[in-house]
């Protein structure tokens, strides 16, 4: 088709009647005369935007990217991508509180993508070799082998530094080993992860406590990461404590996890509402006792993970909401806890409503054992004075650096949410800051290193490869998606042990099958990232979206685009913004 020879009545051309071809015809096409792009008031821009899942991951995993690979069945590649940001899919896939699922836009459609289950599924697909940078010569010490310390060690190894991990207990893993019950996290999994790190070249020194007195042992190291955790139980101001036996939750859980015998009697009362309280209650059940949790606020305010509370109730744990213990005495064979009922008032500084006792609602509970789980705090007395402050936590800047050059910290010893994901994230942040420190550009990581950003989770790939420069400022919310292009699915969920089978410490949750994993991963719609659905190209009345372009960001032809905005409206993933035309 000859499109170069265009012939016909061209406005403004004023040809004579002899020059005009006869027959009221026009020949040829599109001599680029009407620049309809000049009509625009708004112009569509295709962008790479942030997805809420990745944005909210405290460990900084590129969840969207991982799911995109899983959708195609590329589980090994997905796992490799995952491991670039988080060393422990097997751990997180069991114990993470999955804020990603809480922000997943599909929760407003037919349920969040089961990212946590997918994480766990991926753990079996770790490649044998993990690429890491050649040795740089830096030597780092990590004090504490909980998730923060292990994470820091991992990333430091990837960056080519040699790492030694000091752990005061004989066993490695911190709360992963001693705190979280094995029906949530089997200890073999912890062993596997530690073995993996050893395979990377991390040196472990268990049974080696670093204190103020032994601080000089850290001199040979170029940098130190402190991850001692929050090992001290918070006190409960309760009358009668001096003469009663109460068991701090962490002690109880450690004893059970390390295989020691514990005798709780027939009934256990657990005071508190956090994960430790629920863990303690469910563990007590498995040891054959009845368990009652006493919590001063209502279910909405409970800090424990909601799914944990649900599982606990399923198993028969009794929870008394809006009840505070007042006094504890010896009563009968066991203990007697006098309580009072509460009402909820105005929110406190954390945003949770303050409980206040209701006069005349006293009641008492009898229990053989009382476990107290009202919170944990760090024990800073092990640290040199120069590092401490008056506060309960070790102060650090946004990248984990203390005010002492070369000393970094992360995990529960710092003031951050006490979750495994946050711990892993802080370990990674500090590893990057240590690397930056060791390469001598700037001390303490106070100047943001390239690729690092101040958000819950930083990106290792961003730091090392500069990969995330294209991401824009905004996070896609459900209102930015177009669910007309979503289908409703009934995906298979990961198997869960029925309550009758949960008498022992076997894992309550099972693994997805490969078909189930593919199903779940396929539900992810890839918020903010062009999925090549070509709606924009199909629905452009002005043929101004060219789907054959390799990069989606170059698809729009602004010469003729009128800015009607249909592409933006029909983009299922919210990857298009309408911006004012200058």
């Amino acid at each position: 088709m000859d499109t170069t020879r265009a012939c016909g009545p061209l406005p403004g051309a004023f040809c004579t009647y002899k020059e005009l071809p006869i027959g009221s015809t026009s020949i040829g096409v599109h001599a680029d005369v009407i620049r309809t792009g000049l009509w625009r008031l708004l112009r569509p821009v295709i962008k790479l935007k942030k997805s809420p899942c990745s944005e909210g991951c405290p460990a900084g995993v590129d969840i969207r990217g991982v799911l995109a690979l899983m959708r195609k069945g590329l589980f090994e590649e997905a796992c490799s991508l995952y491991l670039k940001e988080n060393p422990f899919p097997a751990l997180c896939g069991r114990v993470c509180f999955h804020p990603c699922e809480g922000t997943c836009n599909l929760k407003e459609w037919d349920g969040a993508v089961a990212i946590n289950a997918l994480e766990r599924f991926l753990a079996d697909f770790a490649p044998l070799q993990q690429p890491h940078y050649p040795p740089h010569g830096g030597r780092a010490a990590v004090v504490g082998s909980g998730p923060a310390g292990l994470s820091c060690a991992y990333f430091l190894r990837l960056l080519g530094h040699s790492v030694t991990v000091f752990e005061s207990r004989q066993v490695v893993g911190g709360l992963l080993r001693t705190g979280i019950p094995s029906y949530r996290l089997p200890k073999e999994i912890v062993d596997q992860e530690v073995t993996k790190l050893q395979g990377l070249g991390v040196e472990f020194r268990p049974g080696h406590t670093v204190t103020v007195d032994t601080w000089s042992e850290l001199e040979p190291f170029d940098a130190v990461f402190l991850a001692l955790g929050s090992g001290k139980n918070r006190d409960l101001p309760l009358a009668g404590l001096e003469s009663s036996e109460i068991v701090p939750a962490l002690e109880f859980l450690e004893a059970v996890n390390l295989g020691r015998r514990v005798n709780l009697g027939r009934s256990v009362a657990v005071i508190g509402g956090g994960n430790a309280a629920i863990d303690a209650a469910r563990t007590a059940l498995r040891l054959g006792s009845r368990a009652t949790v006493i919590y001063r606020r209502s279910r909405e305010e409970m800090p424990a993970f909601s799914s944990e509370v649900t599982d606990a109730l399923e198993e028969g744990v009794e929870i008394l909401y809006l009840a505070s213990p007042v006094r504890i005495t010896k009563g009968g064979p066991g203990q007697r806890i006098e309580c009072i009922k509460n009402r909820l008032g105005e929110p406190d500084k954390d945003g949770r409503r303050l409980p206040s006792p209701i006069e005349g609602t006293d009641f008492a509970i009898e229990a053989d054992s009382v476990i107290v789980a009202v919170g944990e705090l760090p024990d800073l007395t092990a640290l040199p004075q120069v590092l401490r402050t008056n506060g309960p936590y070790l102060p650090v800047d946004e990248f984990g650096s203390t005010h002492h050059p070369g000393v970094f910290a992360g995990g529960d010893i710092t003031d951050q949410p006490h979750t495994v994901a946050h711990a892993i994230g802080s370990g990674k942040k500090a590893a990057l800051a240590i690397d930056y420190f060791l390469r001598g550009r700037q001390s303490g990581g106070r100047e943001a290193a390239p690729g690092m950003r101040n958000r819950p989770g930083v990106s290792f790939r961003g730091y090392t490869e500069g990969k995330l420069a294209e991401e824009g400022e905004s996070v896609v919310t459900f209102s930015g998606l177009n669910p007309a292009y979503f289908t409703h699915t009934e995906p298979s969920m990961r198997p869960k042990l029925p309550v009758e089978a949960r008498s022992g410490f076997a894992e309550v949750y099972g693994n997805l099958s490969p078909e189930g994993a593919l199903e779940q991963a396929s539900r992810c719609v890839s918020c903010g990232q062009c999925c090549q659905c070509n709606n924009c190209a199909v629905f452009c009345p002005d043929a101004s979206v060219h789907s054959e372009k390799a990069s989606p960001f170059e698809r729009i032809d602004y010469q003729y685009c009128k800015g009607c905005g249909i592409c933006e409206n029909e983009c299922p993933v919210g990857a298009i913004d309408m911006e004012r035309e200058e």
Binding site: P11, T36, G563
Partner: protein
Amino acid sequence: MPGEEFFKGGHTLCPGCPGGILWRLITKVMGPNSITTMGSTCISLPPAVFPSVLDLPSISLSMASPAALISGVSAALKVLRRKGRRPGNERTNVFCVAGDGGTADIGFAGLSGAAERNDDGVYFCFDNEAYMNTGIQRSSLTPEGTWTTSTLQGKLQPKKDVPMIMAAHGIPYVATASIGFPDDFIRKAEKARDMAGGFRYIHVHSPCPTGWRFPENQMVEIARLAVECGMWRLYEVENGVWRITHDPEPRRPVAEYLSRQGRFHHLSPEERLHIQAVVDRACGIRDGKGEEHYTKIKK
């Protein structure tokens, strides 16, 4: 869908015009070996104003003529092939693009004639439910209750059911389609294209942001909504076999569709209920009873 564009940007259709999409999809399906005839409608201008944006040969005449133009072109192709002046085995697709006025009003006789003769061609009705090109006047395909400049208090008469009328002609293929369901439309256009011959009719519901009074970026959404609330039904009648191709389950209330378009703003609550009742009834005769309904017409 092939990547090549036969209908390009640089035309003066309104921003968000469904006609731009329609032309692009039709021409991609019909391909370069096609001839198109056109009736007078908004979207016949981009091919006809020089420099054209359509990369296929076209002919238009008066508004009432698009179907007769199909008859003429396909008859000529037939005789020219027989006489060896065109390759005997060629497959040139002849199709037509006409508006609702050119289809159901001024061009109705011509359309019925071409269909009754079963002349070879695929006829696409671009239904924006009014004479939009002359500034939003009512046509017989304007729905009941709609504001137009010639029905200021709302049209009294219901929308003429042209697809069913075409089905009653006994032609090999009749289908309804919507700009909001491009895959369904493409499948139907391909099916029509691939039939050996005869008159094939596809009626495409095309929301007009300018005439229906809604923001142009919602055009595809409104098209989808029309189908999802039952105001427009997607079906096909293939050699007399009647088949619904998209059944919204559950059907959304018509009120949502009406409230989003300025052309319905004047409707009272009673009028809106009436429209819902009409749609309910229409969907009733079609759901599961379509075959029965259609057979009644044939008899």
